[in-house]
């Protein structure tokens, strides 16, 4: 396209772009600002936008006086567990869907897609009953299994499309050189899909870390995750917005960083083929 004049660019492109970025960031920034304002400034009216005396007191109080540090650890364990279980199951499944043409392939793949579309309310209560029967309520394993209901189907689709980007000739070349199928997978294919595997793993980690409903139903005091804990705090410390937003920031920062890291590779997997990337 023909270049526009500098001022036209500024008003037609850069200014709207700035507005959109501000809209996207404003609530986030407001949460951070709230978390570092002393309690007295939070109660001021009209609202004081920039903190006069920034403080980390809310963070200190949150980590020393509540269970939040333990909840962070629980979330970390559960999200890592969900990523590991999800990958362990989805890598072979993705490989099978990408490399073999077999009876039932289409219905199975469609099945894994449809499962992700079920309303969670449809399965959450029987799942709770099932977990109770096996004594898995309030255990790490219980929540990890709960999260695999959405992470496995998604990871399978994502990994299938990553496997499919690798030419089949490579498998054949490796087997002609005398490698067994498993050797070919381990030494040729897996190293090539490693970036895709990492993306899928990080995506499962993020969704598990962020998840609320399953974690609320399946966890109790012992393995309570940060999202559930924060929601309980909202009921408990209604007026203490400094404390609540400090919790919000601590939950948000790790996923924000991870998300920025994977977002580019994610889009292709998310729309399942509509975008060729």
């Amino acid at each position: 396209m023909r270049g526009r004049s500098a001022s036209a660019r500024l008003f037609q492109i850069e200014l709207p772009a700035l507005l959109i970025v501000l809209f996207a960031l404003a609530p986030y920034v407001w949460m951070i600002l709230t978390s570092i304002k002393p309690q007295a400034e939070l109660a001021e009216w009209p609202v004081r936008y920039w903190p006069r005396a920034a403080t980390l007191d809310h963070y200190r109080e949150l980590l020393s006086r509540t269970s939040f540090a333990g909840n962070l650890l629980n979330s970390l364990i559960i999200a890592c567990g969900a990523a590991l279980v999800g990958l362990a199951v989805s890598i072979p499944a993705g490989y099978a869907f990408s490399r073999f043409r077999f009876r039932g392939r289409r219905p199975l793949m469609t099945g894994f897609l449809v499962i992700n579309m079920f309303p969670i309310v449809l399965l959450i209560i029987p799942l709770f009953v099932l977990m109770r029967r096996f004594g898995l309520i309030d255990t790490y394993l219980g929540v990890v299994i709960g999260h695999s209901t959405f992470s496995i189907p998604f990871a399978i689709w994502m990994l299938t499309s990553y496997f499919s980007t690798i030419p089949k000739d490579l498998d054949e070349a490796a087997t002609i050189d005398g490698a067994s199928r498993y050797e070919a997978i381990r030494h040729v294919i897996l190293p090539l899909v490693a970036p895709g595997v990492v993306t899928a793993g990080i995506y499962i980690f993020i969704t598990s870390w962020n998840e609320y409903l399953f974690a609320m139903m399946l966890s109790g005091q012992n393995v309570r995750t940060v999202t559930v804990a924060l929601q309980l705090f909202i009921g408990e410390f209604t007026i203490q917005w400094g404390l609540l937003t400090a919790g919000g920031v601590l939950i948000a920062i790790p996923v924000t960083i991870l998300f920025l890291f994977v977002q580019r590779r994610l889009v292709g997997g998310l729309t399942a083929g509509a975008v060729k990337s």
Binding site: V21, L25, P119, A252
Partner: protein, 296 residues
């Protein structure tokens, strides 16, 4: 040896799929089947032995239930409003971020941030911004002279649903922005050049070149998002729990409340199934599009 193996059906893909199928059957299919089965009983969680078979009684009750119709109406407003605005905002953002300017990379990275956040935090930050006494939204609107007195956004039946919807629009528009942007990048530049030589205006270039080229991406993104938004209830749960009154009840929230808080699992199951049935057409369209991938 390979020849001999090839002649028998090759079981390898089934072995590879077995763990995924077993786990999914146990934690998704089995519970869903149970939900379908239990929707035929007046099953109450604290008294499982007293449950009676009522056939389609729960479903008949659903359609006579005033709260169901209220929730359904809210769900329609919720889906159309949230998905529509997310899409519009995402499209505008994508078109702008597709132009070149020196800080474009940074802008693209920052715009996706709301998408990364958990619903509980979306609920928390927007509840705080909507606060009646010291909320920044009331403060800003008062300073701008838009309102003359603070508004209790989440406590008023006429504003609560809209207020929550805005929070969700904020969270979801980056998804459209990123997806549409990826679609825009596949449109060949020659198409624009040709249109420009033919004297097409910018609007004409948008409607005749850009839109047809990204139509597929938009359709898929809209379908996918409709399903997500229709099923999502956690932001509402965190912000209002459905209140005030039934002002922010949507179908999944109502099903959840009846099943979880009300412990009437049979009835909640019937509500969840009605929601699923209503969504089926959208799911079918999406699956049809997505499974084109299978042929490749």
């Amino acid at each position: 040896m390979t020849v001999a193996v090839r002649q028998r059906p090759d079981w390898t893909p089934y072995y590879f799929l077995l763990p995924a199928i077993l786990i999914t059957a146990a934690v998704v299919l089995f519970p869903v089947a149970q939900t379908i089965w239990l929707s035929l009983f007046n099953y109450v969680i604290y008294d499982p032995d007293g449950s009676q078979f009522v056939g389609f009684g729960n479903f008949a009750a659903v359609f006579r239930d005033e709260v169901f119709w209220i929730s359904l109406r809210h769900s329609v407003v919720w889906i159309v409003g949230v998905v529509g605005l997310q899409f519009l905002l995402g499209l505008i953002a994508a078109l702008i971020l597709n132009e070149s300017f020196w800080w474009r990379g940074l802008a693209r990275a920052l715009v996706v941030i709301p998408w990364a956040l958990p619903s509980v935090i979306i609920g928390l930050m927007w509840t705080w911004m909507y606060d009646f006494n010291v909320g920044v939204i009331n403060d800003a609107l008062l300073r701008l002279g838009v309102i003359s007195a603070p508004i209790a956004w989440l406590a008023r039946p006429d504003t609560a649903l809209g207020a929550i919807m805005l929070g969700l629009v904020w969270q979801g528009f980056p998804f459209f922005a990123v997806t549409i942007l990826a679609g825009l990048q596949t449109v060949p530049a020659e198409l624009y050049e040709a249109a420009e030589i033919d004297g097409a205006t910018r609007w004409k270039r948008f409607t005749n070149v850009t839109l047809p080229a990204i139509g597929d991406v938009i359709a898929t993104a809209l379908l996918l998002r409709t399903i997500w938004v229709a099923n999502s209830l956690d932001v509402i749960l965190v912000m209002t729990g459905g209140g005030p009154g039934y002002a922010t009840y949507t179908l999944p929230l109502y099903a959840f409340q009846r099943a979880y808080s009300g412990m009437e699992f049979g009835y909640g199951a019937a509500l969840a199934l009605v929601l699923t049935a209503l969504l089926l057409a959208v799911v079918w369209l999406y699956v049809k599009r997505a499974s084109r991938e299978l042929e490749r």
